[in-house]
């Protein structure tokens, strides 16, 4: 993946979370309270969807080189 593609999802999640937290703190109009709360919950939805996707297709990308095995960050 290109650098732009790698960062697209994390940046969108971060933008949603931070703007929602600030919107709630700055007292959004009543109709926007729930959208802001949902904005904070986006990481949970994304994690749920990714886990669901990997459970559905456990053998997908089997041949992909493992970048973490040889040079593990941990």
């Amino acid at each position: 993946m290109s650098g732009r593609e790698i960062w697209a999802a994390p940046l969108l999640i971060a933008a949603a979370v931070i703007s929602s937290l600030l919107a709630l703190l700055c007292d959004v109009p009543a109709g926007w309270v729930w959208p802001a709360r949902i904005g904070v919950s986006i990481p949970i939805w994304v994690i749920g969807l990714c886990l669901y996707r990997s459970c559905r297709s456990p053998v997908a990308h089997h041949s992909v080189e493992d970048p973490g095995q040889r040079r593990d960050i941990n």
């Binding site: 999802a9 999640i13 979370v17 080189e65 960050i73």
Partner: protein, 375 residues
């Protein structure tokens, strides 16, 4: 033989090292903070469920309130040997809390009484320094070690933030050949946990950064307050510096009325009694708050002469105390109702999994390296 590494690879290795060691140094303490923070998110609800919170009975909304001087007199009569530190107004119910200590400037409360603002009746003598929630709070805020414990938590918070930032930096190189959020189910348990660790951490990185940075700011509360007392507050009270402290104080109710007139549209959050940590020996310090989510956190101190009830000064707090006040809701997640608290708890649980998986990946590293060398 040493192999020369290209600059980008050298930089990646450095960031990997920073991520590894900053994470390892703080993980155990962060696990303690996440575990103890979880019940603290629902502190008010737990108080309601266990019956340890007592609310004033329902009455018509326009029932008049009694003078706070009556509550002050009652509290003094209950503990004649103690001094009043603060009196604060309940955010949600018509009630006042009076906090007492051995002296007005004592750090620890000896008693906190809750009063019905309409009848003046003392409805709850809130137990101090006991109970499960107190122990959890002490562990979360100061690791049972007072200010050094709080500052140590702040230092661990700095390592945590460094760990998140370094984790974000090394995220891209390790995700080059994977789709976002891909979990390689068939590559063994360790790789599965590595992918899960990366997914959970990058998805919650912004929340982790917000809670981490605001947590660090919160650990500086006492030093910041102390700095404010030595600088801005000392400057405001220069004229009273050499005067003896008054023997008796004027009406608190009148002081509150003067403060309300000086800060129109605002209500009382709490009052620092003369001699307390939030006031001077000669003044009531009435902290006023606004009525929106944000302005209710941004306090405006109004200084009232405790002998004459004259207005002395009404200034906004300096930027560092404003930053501290804004940090608190962003850290506790208590400003968006119960739904936000539930989300905070969910994100806190995810943080626990991120930290736990990080420890697992470290301890399973040797076996992974052995397999790598063997193959």
């Amino acid at each position: 033989m040493r192999v020369a590494l290209s600059p980008p690879f050298r930089s990646l290795t450095s960031w990997s090292r920073i991520h590894r060691w900053s994470s390892l140094a703080c993980t155990v303490f962060l696990l303690i903070l996440c575990a103890t923070g979880l019940p603290l998110i629902f502190k008010a609800e737990i108080g309601d469920w266990t019956g340890t919170t007592i609310e004033p009975p329902a009455m018509p909304a326009d029932t008049p309130h009694v003078s706070v001087d009556r509550l002050v007199a009652d509290a003094k009569a209950r503990r004649p040997g103690d001094a009043i530190r603060y009196i604060s107004q309940d955010d949600d119910a018509p009630a006042w809390f009076i906090s007492m200590g051995r002296q007005a400037d004592s750090a620890e409360a000896t008693a906190v009484f809750k009063y019905d603002a309409r009848t003046g009746a003392m409805i709850h003598d809130i137990p101090q320094q006991q109970g499960v929630m107190y122990v959890i709070r002490e562990a979360h805020v100061e690791l049972f070690s007072g200010l050094p414990g709080t500052l140590f938590i702040g230092a661990m918070g700095c390592l945590f933030v460094l760990s998140i930032v370094s984790g974000i930096v090394i995220y891209a190189p390790f995700m080059r050949k994977l789709r976002f959020g891909e979990i390689r189910q068939q590559r063994g348990r360790r790789i599965r946990w590595l992918d899960l660790h990366n997914l959970l951490a990058i998805a919650t990185a912004s929340w982790l950064l917000v809670v981490g940075v605001t947590g660090i700011v919160n650990t500086l509360a006492l030093p910041l307050l102390s700095y404010w007392q030595r600088t801005a507050l000392a400057e405001m009270t220069m004229a009273w510096r050499d005067k003896p402290a008054p023997v008796s104080y004027s009406s608190l109710q009148q002081a509150i009325a003067v403060a309300k007139a000086a800060a129109p549209g605002m209500d009382v959050s709490f009052v620092g009694f003369p001699g307390s940590r939030f006031a001077t020996p000669h003044h009531y310090m009435v902290f006023m708050r606004g009525d929106t989510v944000l302005t209710s956190r941004l306090l405006k101190p109004v200084m009232i002469d405790a002998e004459t009830d004259q207005l002395v000064a009404a200034r906004s707090l300096p930027w560092y105390l404003t930053l501290l006040l804004i940090s608190q809701p962003l850290h506790f997640g208590d400003y968006g109702g119960l739904p936000l608290k539930i989300l905070w708890a969910g994100l806190d649980l995810i943080a626990i999994v991120v930290l736990g998986s990080g420890i697992y990946l470290w301890f399973s590293r040797r076996s992974a390296l052995a397999v790598d060398v063997g193959s």
